[in-house]
Every structure is written in structure tokens, then in C-alpha cells.
């Protein structure tokens, strides 16, 4: 049996490298066609140079043809990518934030020994990495699966492209009076409950009031400040409901109240007992810590929404 010329082997190897990246149903057909076409190119180029086809010519031709993965990509019809280019950044951020949150939640618990009490201190990070650390990577996989499902839905039930329309509420200064009235009512009910609990614990001596008795130090030093905060918050809500929209001044006052609330509540959490009993004290301080986080998150969100979306470019002065 005669050995095949090396240039033919080279072309065949290249063609197989391209076609293994194609859908199975078209692989053989494309491979047969491509091998013949490249072979013809090699023969023509060799004839132009008045020499016999060889490996050097074949290599030059397949290199000009392109990287196998690029060539294979050109054979595909433009399709519906799982992650559209416009969503690539969003996907990357969602993946990174999801992983970071899981690590932030599990790593401190692992290092403090709460997650793996039986693991030696020096080995906790290793145990964490092989469990929660690597396990956090389920999140990007989950996102990709959701996006694949979205592609399937789009292909199965293609949506009619709708004309762009503005958001329902383009005036971000206008407030919803009904929700603000509801907020005012809830705030008044919350204040009433706090005042009622304080009054009951000072007036009656029952197991229930003893369990919810405020610490004398708290009532004497920190509690009165909350009255100022409540008064300012209620006044702001009333002004907003009456005016029906935000103004620069009311936004600044709102931000000031939020900052004051975050500072005051942080002081409540770390400044000593609030309740006399351990159970009530720990529970309420935990809840207050959560409220501080929510207030900070809300401030960050408001700051983000208030930033100018379209900024004027820096124009050099003439």
C-alpha cells in the first residue's frame, strides 16, 4: 500500500479539526467538500510555483484559511446566543456578586469554627474551600441554565418586537400619595406600640411587662433622641403628602434623617442594653442592626438613582 503524501495528511488533519466543531449532521459533508477545495488550492499554488504539492504549501494555505475554531464559527448561521452581548457585563457582575455574597456569608462562619466545629483551626479554610468555597460556583451555572431556558422560550414563542415606550413614571420627583399615607399610618402605629410598651413597662408589674421593660439607662440617655427622629420623619411625610412631590430641600432633609437614623440605631445596637431581659434585648438589637443595614442600603440606592444619568462633557474653555 502506498503512503499518502504528507500534504494530504496535513489538510485532512486541519479539516477534521474544523469539522469536529460543527454539528454532527453536517460534519462529513463539509469535511469532504473542504478537503477537496483545499486540495485544489494546494495543487494550483504548486503549479503556479512550478513545483509539486508539498507540506509547506499546504501549511501556508490552511494558515491563510484561518484558525479552525474561527472557520467553524463561520459555518454557523447567526443564532440566538445564550448570553447576548448586551447582557455580558450584567451576567459577569451578577455571577461575581452572587459568589462574593456566598463567600462573605460562609467564610467568617467557617473561620470562627461555627460551620466546621470538628475541623482543626489550621484546616478550616481548606475544608471551607472544598465545600462552600467551590460550591458557590453553582450560581453562575444556575444563571446560564436560566438564560438557556429563556433562549428556548424565545425560540419556541418568538415575541413580536414591540415599539419602545417610556416607563410608566418618568417624573421621579412625583410621589404616590396613597403609599405615603399608608407609610404615615404604619409609622404612627409603630410609634404608638413603642410608646405603649414603654408606658406599660413603667406602669404595670406583670411577667409580660417585666419581659419588655426598658433598661433605665436607655430610657434616660438614648431613648429621648428617638422622639426627635420620629418627629422629623413624620413632619417630612406630612409635607410630602401635602406637596405631592419631592423638592431639593425635602430630599436633603430625607437624607439627613436617614443618616441620623443610621447613627442613632447603631448607637442603640452597640451602646448598651435596651431591654432589661436578655431575650428581648438580643432580639431587638438584632432587628435594629438589620434596620441599620436596610437604611444604609436604601441610602445607597437613592444616591444611585439621584445621580445624573447623562452628564455634560468637559468642554475646554475658549
Amino acid at each position: 500500500m502506498t503512503a499518502r503524501p504528507t500534504h494530504e495528511t496535513l489538510i485532512e488533519s486541519y479539516v477534521l479539526d474544523v469539522t469536529r466543531r460543527l454539528p454532527r449532521r453536517m460534519r462529513n459533508d463539509v469535511a469532504f467538500e473542504l478537503r477537496a477545495l483545499l486540495g485544489e488550492s494546494v495543487r494550483d499554488r504548486a503549479a503556479d510555483a512550478s513545483r509539486l504539492p508539498d507540506e509547506t504549501i499546504a501549511l501556508a494555505i490552511v494558515r491563510e484559511f484561518g484558525q479552525p475554531e474561527d472557520v467553524a464559527a463561520r459555518y454557523h448561521l447567526p443564532g440566538d446566543p445564550i448570553i447576548p452581548p448586551s447582557q455580558t457585563n450584567g451576567f459577569a457582575w451578577a455571577s461575581l456578586i452572587g459568589i462574593a455574597l456566598q463567600w462573605a456569608g460562609s467564610l467568617p462562619l467557617a473561620l470562627s469554627g461555627q460551620l466546621f466545629p470538628n475541623a482543626p483551626e489550621s484546616g478550616r479554610i481548606g475544608v471551607w474551600w472544598t465545600s462552600y468555597g467551590l460550591g458557590a460556583f453553582w450560581w453562575p451555572g444556575f444563571l446560564v441554565t436560566v438564560m438557556m431556558a429563556a433562549v428556548w422560550v424565545r425560540r419556541t414563542w418568538p415575541a413580536k418586537p414591540a415599539a419602545w415606550s417610556p416607563a410608566a413614571r418618568t417624573d421621579s420627583d412625583r410621589i404616590n400619595r396613597a403609599t405615603h399615607l399608608l407609610g404615615l399610618a404604619l409609622a404612627l402605629i409603630g410609634i404608638a406600640i413603642w410608646v405603649l410598651v414603654a408606658w406599660a413597662s413603667l406602669t404595670f408589674d406583670t411577667p409580660a411587662t417585666r419581659a419588655l421593660a426598658f433598661a433605665p439607662d436607655f430610657l434616660a440617655t438614648r431613648a429621648p433622641l428617638v422622639l426627635l427622629l420620629w418627629a422629623a420623619g413624620i413632619a417630612l411625610l406630612v409635607v410630602l403628602i401635602v406637596e405631592g412631590r419631592w423638592r431639593d430641600l425635602t430630599r436633603k432633609i430625607d437624607m439627613g434623617i436617614k443618616v441620623a437614623a443610621a447613627i442613632l440605631l447603631t448607637w442603640f445596637v452597640f451602646g448598651g442594653r435596651i431591654f432589661v431581659t436578655d431575650a428581648a434585648d438580643e432580639t431587638v438589637r438584632g432587628v435594629l442592626a438589620l434596620i441599620v443595614l436596610l437604611v444604609l442600603g436604601q441610602m445607597a440606592f437613592h444616591a444611585w438613582r439621584l445621580r445624573r444619568r447623562i452628564r455634560a462633557p468637559e468642554v475646554p474653555q475658549a
Partner: protein, 127 residues
Amino acid sequence: MAERPEDVGAKLEQELRRGVIVLAALSQLRTQQYGYSLRQALAERGLVIEEGTLYPLLRRLEGQGLLASEWRIEDGPPRRYYTLSPQGEAMLASLAQSWRNMAGIVEGLIGEGKAGDEQPKKRKATP
């Protein structure tokens, strides 16, 4: 880091050609051609298209229903011959019309630019 001007130029030219290649290929497939012969036919008329671009394009156009193909043996190994499908013929007519319109408009725009360039020269010549 900014791209080198020659790289930018090459990319822009590639984009310009990309839009033309489909029309050029369709125009030559009124008669049956196989990949290599089509490339030669286009090259003879001054449009050199890389094989790595042209051969996959033929498959894609066939996948879109614009070309029909069949394996045939004519003085050589079996070759896949492509020709316009009825849908491809309609598409060719439509694209050719669009091309003529666009070429006329762009030619006019380029011409305006040239006329604008010449004006300052004339002014300079005036004492």
C-alpha cells in the same frame, strides 16, 4: 491602548467588504459553481475573497434557503455545486436594487466631500 491606524483601516475595510461579499457571491451563482471555481470567477473580476470566508458563506446561504446545492462529478473528484434557489434569485434582485441605491447615495456624499475640499484651495489661489 488605541488601535494602530493600519489595524483600524484593515478592520473598517473588512466590514465594508463583508456587506458586499454576499451580493457578489449571489451574482455569480446564477450559473452553477463550486467553491473554488466561484472564488476564481470573483478573483478574475477583481474581487479576491479569502477561501476561509467564502466556503463557509456558501453553506450559510444554503442554510438560509438562498442557494441549492448538489454533489456532481465533472472531470475530477466529486464537487459540491451551488446555484441560486428561487428565493435566492429574488433576494439577489432585491439586494442589487439596494446596492445601486446605496452606491449612488454614498458616491454623492463622497463627491460632496471632495467638492468641499477643493473650495479652500481655490480661496488660497485668490489674491
